[in-house]
Symmetry: C2
């Protein structure tokens, strides 16, 4: 028996991605987004949604570029911190003990210590209500070499990603392979 919980954003699991951008003075800025995901295969696109009052909004509008920095569980505290404060007033990277370098493909900063980084140029901005969606074309994905498997792709067990649940406002580790897509449920096709 189901119970109605009303009209809200209780939806899970969601990614925890740190959006990198430069401000007008060229200072690197970061914010954590769970309103984020993949939205097209070709061109490869991701989006994140942000309130227009946030510092990142103006940075991304000005440079038309952002990075998606994907943390492992070892960076969970830093990722949470990036969502707690505004880059207007503090140098978030210094506080978190992290460093950045300019992307090789777009005018946005990559977090050196985060294992997986996507460099994106803005394709569209879409106003929805409280949030603006920035849809970006992924120009490059880069990953720490030590986390790559023999097939040259990132290994989830080494990357140790985590997710966010709006149901309880908490982060959870991703662990325990369940099976491969297009295989796990194939027997149901009869």
């Amino acid at each position: 028996m189901k119970k109605s919980l009303g009209a809200n954003t209780i939806a899970l699991p969601l990614p925890v991605w740190v959006i990198g951008s430069y401000d007008a003075a060229g200072k690197p800025n970061a914010m954590t987004a769970s309103w984020a995901g993949v939205c097209c295969s070709q061109p490869p696109c991701v989006y994140f949604a942000v309130r227009p009052a946030r510092y990142t909004h103006d940075c991304v509008v000005a440079r038309q570029a952002f990075t998606v920095n994907i943390p492992g569980v070892g960076q969970a505290a830093a990722a949470d911190y990036f969502g707690c404060t505004s880059g207007r007033t503090v140098d978030k990277f210094a506080a978190a003990g992290l460093t950045t370098h300019r992307g090789g493909y777009v005018d946005a900063p990559c977090i050196a210590e985060f294992p997986l980084v996507l460099e994106c140029k803005v394709l569209k901005a879409l106003e929805l209500g409280t949030h603006v969606m920035f849809i970006g074309e992924i120009l490059d994905v880069s990953c720490e070499e030590v986390l790559l498997g023999v097939d040259g792709r990132p290994e989830v067990s080494r990357l140790q990603p985590f997710v966010y649940s709006t149901a309880d406002g908490s982060y959870y580790a991703v662990a325990g392979a369940l099976g491969r897509a297009y295989t796990l449920g194939k027997h149901l096709a009869g």
Copy 2:
């Protein structure tokens, strides 16, 4: 040291949500989407992206509504199966041993056996390339009562959600609480 993996959709972790819709004859249809997520807080919105050739595309265009049915690990095989075949040719629900009922808020089917269901009306459709994004306003969220905690919200440990990784095309369980948002990294604010 990072290695470039090129321009692609290696991004994780991603949700595994089953999109429910009715076809022209009123037959319930389902497809599994990982190009999906939350995109606005107010009005509460989610999106999913789909290739225009998919059966779900035409169903959602016609009815301007869809459901997001969120599976637990116990429904992982069914969720994978929904991504393997087309509702044009088979009754996916019969094959998966699942049942549906019409949503109370929108003209789309809810999967009875899935623990968490969002009912959405289409606000926008956005063509991006291979995929069309459907952005839907969430009119209601409903959850199995036995999965709710004392605070009346879904408990992740009972819901047992899982994610998809494009890096290896595999599903992974979500487990192990890491901490609460706005708390885990607060100490870094000094």
